[in-house]
Subunit: 357 residues, 2 copies
């Protein structure tokens, strides 16, 4: 039976990516060798790294604008640390927007470096909305935000205008919608949602913002070192980078970010319409801040839980339970998720309504 994988991450990738990745594990580029056993310095892999880095800038419309793309290791959680190390001046300060668990994690790591100001937070309302009544201080070293909150199902649909560098954790909505990416100075994203498997982190950074802290930066944490070494300062996560490259190619061949955005909007509209229409369900996020990647919802009456869980499991759906801090359900509808799978979920929700009447 076909599976409909609504996992929040690691998460669904295009079927053709799985097939090409599996083939490369057996034989990479007809070399007679597995992609797992080749040197990262081999000609074929250096080409993968170079093309993947170029493709990121091309897809984001950032070519020739002073940006560099890097595929580093350690996860987005390591970027929580790399960001202040690279951008917070000695005796400087930073401004953070607190919109969820991961934003709070970034804030925690920044605090030991210096004056870390939380200029807006929705924590008191269990992060069910995106704060908007805040001002980005013009004298901070940078502003940090999280574009999409995987756990709470909220997403920033607009970003503040400011003169200071803007840093954004786009782990769970990168490549899902078009933005003027040149308004961001540093974007980072763990690969394991829209871009690839767990194991690599994309960093897109405007070079001119680096090198101004007066701080000694450990080599492995220094973005400039990674740029100088063309994202090969140390051994990259070869397979994760290759699989991300395959996904980026798929994305380009399927219309790029604009086409993804349209598909994602259609999927989200279909599912939210059912949540709002069906008397058994309610959404958890404030309507105007709803995420088009992670759709969080509850059964109004928990007595229906057993029946609903039985129905969606029988329909081949997996990965639907919500995060423990929100409860209920979370349907993650990343780029690679076809609208047909969303329709299967909507049909199950309708079926629950019928069977409970």
């Amino acid at each position: 039976m076909k599976k409909h994988n609504f996992s929040a991450g690691p998460s669904i990738l295009p079927q053709e990516v799985f097939e090409k990745a599996a083939q490369a594990v057996l034989d990479f580029n007809n070399s007679g060798l597995s992609i797992l056993e080749i040197s990262h310095r081999s000609k074929d892999f250096v080409a993968v790294m170079e093309e993947a880095r170029a493709l990121v800038l091309e897809l984001m419309g950032l070519e020739g604008k002073g940006y560099q793309a890097l595929f580093l290791s350690g996860g987005a959680s390591l970027e929580f640390l790399r960001v202040p190390y690279n951008l917070m001046k000695m005796h400087g300060k930073a401004a953070y927007l607190d919109t969820g668990t991961w934003a709070a994690g970034a804030i925690k790591e920044a605090r030991q470096f210096g004056d870390t100001n939380v200029i807006g937070s929705s924590k008191a309302d269990n992060y069910s909305y995106i704060p908007k009544d805040y001002t980005v201080p013009a004298d901070a070293d940078y502003f940090h935000c999280t574009s999409n909150n995987t756990i709470f199902g909220t997403q920033m649909h607009s970003f503040p205008e400011t003169t200071i560098p803007v840093v954004c954790d786009m782990s769970s909505d990168i490549f899902s919608r078009n933005l003027d990416f040149s308004k961001f100075d540093l974007i980072y994203a763990g690969a394991q949602k829209n871009m690839g498997p767990a194991g690599t982190t994309l960093i897109v950074v405007k070079e001119s913002i680096l090198g101004h802290t007066g701080r000694v930066i450990p080599s492995i944490l220094d973005y400039k070192q990674h740029i100088d070494k063309e994202s090969m300062y140390n051994t990259p996560s070869v397979f994760a980078v290759y699989t991300s490259y395959l996904t980026l190619q798929w994305l380009k061949n399927n219309g790029g970010i604009d086409a993804m955005e349209k598909r994602n909007n259609d999927k989200a509209a279909l599912l939210y319409a059912e949540i709002d229409r069906n008397p058994l369900f309610s959404g958890t996020a404030k309507t105007k801040d709803r995420s088009r990647m992670n759709v969080t919802f509850l059964l109004k009456d928990e007595a229906h839980t057993e029946q609903f869980d039985k129905l969606w499991k029988a329909a081949g759906i997996s990965g639907l339970p919500g995060h423990r801090s929100v409860g209920g359900y979370r349907a993650s509808i990343y780029n690679a998720m076809p609208i047909e799978s969303v329709q299967v979920l909507v049909d199950v929700m309708k079926e629950l309504e019928r069977s409970s009447q």
Copy 2:
């Protein structure tokens, strides 16, 4: 034609590991889902992580001795930073042995934390031997060494006795030979030689050495946090951990570390015997410090280079050129390399000798 992959890393893994890993990319544990799209919190992957961590301690004879095994991200180069963060006291000092490029990298990262003493170095002789005339200071916070030097083809065949914690980067010889691992307090190794693909780092740490620095440790760099979260503080490199688990299972099923050591000694003896016998070749490392993982050698007369390169390429050998800092050739003969492939190389060396007479 069968390939004989002598790459220094990422490097050869058992063929059955490639086949199982490729299958899991298409369908993991008959779940209908790829290992690339499942949650790291799913029951099946949590089991992989738990079993892999237990298998490491079992293979090393460290069960019940106060050790924890972790699979972290960021590469061994990140451990160069994690080690001083976790072990160097405020105003403390550390002792390092400088045996090659990677040891020097570890020293560089430690220096900004405090008093980093290089108590022995073979740098002046292009790292062609392992220093032995050194004393580990009893008042240092820890002693750091690199057990095998991939680039220079040297290996520590004994370790100093000391009362302070011993930290060892075993990236290129982990699981290749039996040692009394309980004499080490912290062992780390990038997976991409004997254990798996690039993308995860094994850390084996004695818990009692942690928590004594008086230093604030960023969460992502704090071994205690990773232990508390059972190696899932942040999303692990799922595929790299799974493939490492497959390799560890293969290792156990093929006799464990003792059996590997015997095979590796046989392979190294075969190749070094030919280097010493064949008048066209010479080894680069001092004989008593030769590595049984990375065999570095030169053509005495560079005029033979073109002919030798033609011969080994025709025999299906790949990954043989030496690192630029040593030149010549480097045959990496990790656990998964069969002795038959080493014999192919030896035959080519003999053929060169015959054809040049």
